[in-house]
Symmetry: C2
Subunit: 218 residues, 2 copies
């Protein structure tokens, strides 16, 4: 499918604007694990996700990660083109979490559309507000939710994303997602296992009691 | 001074838009400590700060606070009018931290301007990006910076805001700002005192070694 099926506000663009987008956007595929955008090191352009799943995270100097949000089909990723706005002063890293297909819109093209199309400018406002809300939710989780609740939420969310009750994920990986140490994750998972909520095996976590996890997640 | 001196993008508004703003905006004063906006309970409109200082914070169910950002002269506060955007799905509380004077622009008026003025729409984008960057910085602080560094940063920032080396602030209040317990603050301040960086007295903290605090804050 072409970009018009995925680009929000397409209907509200002029013919010239559509032609500009068609001529400048490129399609790319990314294997699971591919780094698509690396902090302030690049301004690769905006991503419009056709299929697959991307993960946006921040990275500490010591290499610790915290997942900020995920991007799914039809989502548009603004922060891989932070050079389009002067006030975007933070660094985010984006990787393909599943094999993905996406359109890349050059930053200067999107900037031009924002400057001449009210529809694009206000769509951008809504998009930023949505991401902002996700980040505020994350702060509340970090500050006020105890780790058992956060981990229960995480397992349920992963299980929904994968469409499976058995998660193929290492404790290290969970720790990276949640900005904590592997030992902390392992300890809590063993507690969950002792409560009959999960079953642990090499490289996998099976959810045994979704209702219990949901209750814990609150 | 009139609103035109404070409203960003005033020069780029049409005569009709200016007239609309002049007719609908109201000026108000708020004594230190006044609650100006209370989570999702209201959508009072946008604040344009003429003088004074506002504080935006989030509040847990148990009443714990974390300061998200501060607003100074000429700043515009969007999130006291979160009803202007569908995707703004979080609750923030705003109080006057000093005696303040501000313009209040009704939410529906600003919404109308956003929908018809590219300048206002894109100014809003820059504003949201700036706040977003502040919040991302805060997440990094919370996740990765140890509490001693955060507290040292906080004391230096407060001292700059107050224009004084002696802060009239209780440990309780600092704990509220930083989303932690009073005991944690008191313990760390005593450590700072033992290192000669501050001197503690009833209701006040005197900064004795700014260079040392700056070095610690990193």
């Amino acid at each position: 499918m072409g970009l018009e099926a995925y680009f929000p506000a397409w209907d509200q663009l002029s013919e010239a604007e559509r032609a500009l987008l068609r001529a400048s956007a490129t399609k790319r595929t990314a294997k699971k694990g591919t780094l698509l955008h690396n902090g302030s090191a690049d301004c690769v352009g905006l991503f419009v996700i056709c299929s697959g799943q991307l993960r946006a995270f921040i990275l500490s100097e010591e290499g610790k990660e915290v997942t900020i949000y995920r991007l799914f089909e039809r989502d548009l990723c603004l922060f891989s083109a932070s050079c389009i706005m002067n006030s975007l002063q933070f660094e985010i890293t984006i990787e393909a979490e599943k094999d993905s297909e996406l359109w890349v819109i050059p930053a200067e093209v999107y900037k031009r559309l924002m400057d001449q199309s009210l529809a694009v400018a206000n769509y951008t406002n809504e998009l930023m507000a949505a991401r902002f809300s996700e980040v505020m939710w994350l702060i509340e989780q970090i500050m006020w939710k105890s780790f058992d609740k956060r981990l229960a939420s995480f397992l349920l969310e992963e299980s929904t994303l994968d469409g499976s009750d058995t998660l193929q994920i290492t404790h290290d990986k969970i720790a990276a997602h949640m900005g904590t140490a592997r030992e902390v994750v392992t300890r809590m998972l063993r507690y969950f296992q002792s409560e009959g909520m999960v079953r642990l095996s090499r490289g996998a976590i099976e959810l045994k009691d979704r209702a219990g996890l949901r209750k814990l997640a609150g």
